[in-house]
């Protein structure tokens, strides 16, 4: 990836992180940790990879994105807002009565949301259905599903994996946000889904493990995924929970908690400083 493109993506990712903090702070609840850990990959998808049109969110040939880890809606909403699906200012309405931005993604209410999700394990099945629909109709759109590493403790995720491999859905790419933490603690302490790459390989996937915060690796993974025929791809994105906000880094306690005013100020100062450095 050339340096200009990379810098642009890093700037966008920083703005998306600010939108996440803005939303969760105003809502006084929500899930910042996993939203921040997936931001760079999500930024790459919406600003470099996916074929979508903010002016025509239901365009039938678009690439699809399913946030199977639906609690990270603040990240999706911020990406969609910065992409132009709705005003960035609307992020402040997250989780408020009457808002389009529900606590978990609602495809009926929010432009750009391709699937309702939030109950873990379900989104990836819907993504499989979308990929199957493309095969039936001989269309070349691709489908991306983002899973949490805790989420893959759900049995349905593996039902979906078996199905996707058996039906040869090479237009499906699942991404596992491997930040190592779930609500009750480290995933290896709670009910370990590890080893994750080996599991997906055993289920018949093309598996790529990357640093979720390195745009060169992110690009290489999605480019490689497109070249693989006959099997779906799983990108195991090794990430840092809370990435971008110093006091949230690698802390399970920031899985589902909102910053107070003081913490909000610190987070925004850090992100603004990062943005200023990038824009120099």
């Amino acid at each position: 990836m050339n340096e200009t493109t990379k810098k642009e993506l890093m700037i966008t990712a920083c703005k998306i992180r600010m939108g996440i903090i803005e939303g969760v702070y105003n809502a006084k609840s929500g899930h910042p940790g996993g939203s921040l850990s997936m931001t760079d990959v999500l930024t790459y998808l919406y600003f470099k990879e996916m074929n979508v049109d903010p002016q025509n969110p239901k365009w039938e040939d678009r690439d699809r994105f399913v946030l199977s880890k639906g609690h990270c809606a603040p990240a999706l909403y911020s990406a969609l807002a910065h992409k132009g699906f709705f005003p960035v200012e609307e992020l402040k309405t997250l989780r408020k009565v009457g808002a389009r931005l529900q606590g978990h993604p609602d495809m009926k209410g929010t432009p750009g949301v391709d699937m309702t999700s939030g109950s873990l394990g379900q989104g990836v099945s819907a993504a499989g259905g979308m990929a199957l629909a493309a095969k039936i109709d001989n269309k070349d759109y691709r489908v991306y599903a983002y899973l949490g590493d805790g989420e893959i403790e759900e049995g349905q995720v593996w039902e979906a994996a078996m199905f996707a491999a058996h039906k040869k859905l090479d237009n499906l790419c699942v991404i596992v946000d491997f930040n190592g933490l779930q609500i009750d603690g480290a995933i290896t302490d709670v009910n370990s889904p590890c080893p994750i790459p080996e599991k997906y390989e055993a289920f018949g996937f093309n598996v790529i493990t990357i640093d979720a915060h390195d745009f060169d690796q992110i690009e290489a993974a999605f480019e490689q995924a497109k070249t693989v025929k006959g099997k779906p791809t799983a990108i195991i994105a090794v990430s840092t929970k809370g990435k971008g906000v110093s006091y949230m880094l690698n802390k399970a306690s920031w899985h589902g908690a909102a910053p107070n005013k003081e913490q909000y100020d610190i987070a925004m100062e850090e992100l603004k400083a990062e943005l200023a450095a990038l824009e120099e």
């Binding site: 109950s119 099945s125 819907a126 259905g129 199957l132 039902e159």
Partner: protein, 315 residues
């Protein structure tokens, strides 16, 4: 009425799917390793490119259907009632119900007439579970003619629909010439003034037999077929309550949350009369031949007639 042709409504489902294959390109059919039993296999033979076996994985089956629906397909998904409405309840609620997906949930082997397989496979709670989901249409056809019509109506209807079918061969008493199916519209099958029998599914024909027997005893029973349990036809129930003063409901389903409680909810608010329910009385089923089980649980014309008579005389 005794020498009628008999056919299981799951066969009707398969036949209707085969007809839909030709007339609606958007229809796709998914099953969970039960295509022979649910009869979705008939569609598979006719149209293999639009049939997908998801294997023994009902949660993923439901989610896959939701994804297909977002891309404009009309998925018909089948398995036994126990494993769709029961096992995959939460997937149906969150991935189909909440986003109001255009998915048709076609559950076979509902009720105790599953027979020998016993309690684990006899779903007597599916109507209760499905009618609790906002926006879900719930249909329970009474015979072959009605079941086929219901499948076709569901294909033309925009939104999630749950249809329950039976395993056992059942009398075909509706006549195709004059039969008209409309979602949400109850059918007055026999007029009467002394008592009303409101039935659904297999119990509709039994209720007609009961009404004949009652007539011989001088009791004039009205019989109403409620094939759509949600949205329920309030008008036909209110009219019956007002004109006959008492209602007996009959369903091959738990008395908790099913047709009986749906009817009682209407009368309680709009036309309070006594409502007596026949159904599974807060209990699990057990193994045995289907018809014997139905008799043992009072899901038969004799018991319906006896209960209706007692109700008419108690007014």
């Amino acid at each position: 009425m005794a020498d009628m042709i008999k056919k299981a409504t799951r066969e009707s489902y398969g036949e209707a799917l085969v007809e839909l294959a030709d007339i609606n390109e958007k229809v796709v059919v998914l099953d969970a390793d039960l295509a022979e039993a649910t009869k979705s296999g008939m569609f598979k033979k006719k149209c293999p490119e639009r049939f997908f076996d998801c294997g023994i994985a009902e949660a993923n089956l439901v989610g896959t259907a939701a994804g297909l629906a977002t891309c404009g397909k009309i998925p018909f998904i089948s398995s036994f009632a126990m494993f769709l409405a029961g096992r995959a309840f939460e997937q149906i609620r969150n991935s189909i119900g909440y986003p109001h997906m255009n998915v048709k949930i076609c559950a076979t082997h509902a009720g105790i007439s599953v027979g020998e397989d016993g309690a684990t496979h006899q779903c007597n709670e599916d109507i209760a579970l499905m009618r609790a989901i906002p926006g879900m249409t719930v249909i329970s056809p009474s015979d072959h003619i009605e079941a086929k019509a219901a499948v076709k109506a569901a294909a033309d209807f925009e939104g999630p629909v749950y249809i329950r079918f039976g395993r056992v061969a059942a009398p075909v008493f509706n006549t195709s010439d004059d039969y008209k199916f409309e979602i949400g519209k109850g059918l007055l099958l026999r007029d009467g003034k002394d008592v009303t029998i409101v039935a659904t599914g297999l119990m509709v024909y039994e209720s007609l037999l009961a009404a004949e027997a009652l007539a011989e005893q001088g009791i004039d029973a009205r019989v109403i077929n409620i094939h759509t349990i949600k949205p329920i036809d309030k008008d036909i129930i209110i009219k019956a309550a007002k004109e006959t003063g008492a209602i007996l409901t009959v369903e091959e389903h738990s008395v908790i949350g099913g047709l009986g409680e749906a009817v009682a909810a209407v009368t309680a608010e709009e036309a309070p009369v006594k409502v007596v329910k026949i159904g599974m009385n807060d209990k699990f089923g057990y193994s045995g031949p289907a018809l014997e089980l139905l008799k043992l649980e009072g899901l038969c014309a004799d018991n319906i007639a006896a209960k209706a008579k007692a109700l008419a005389e108690s007014k």
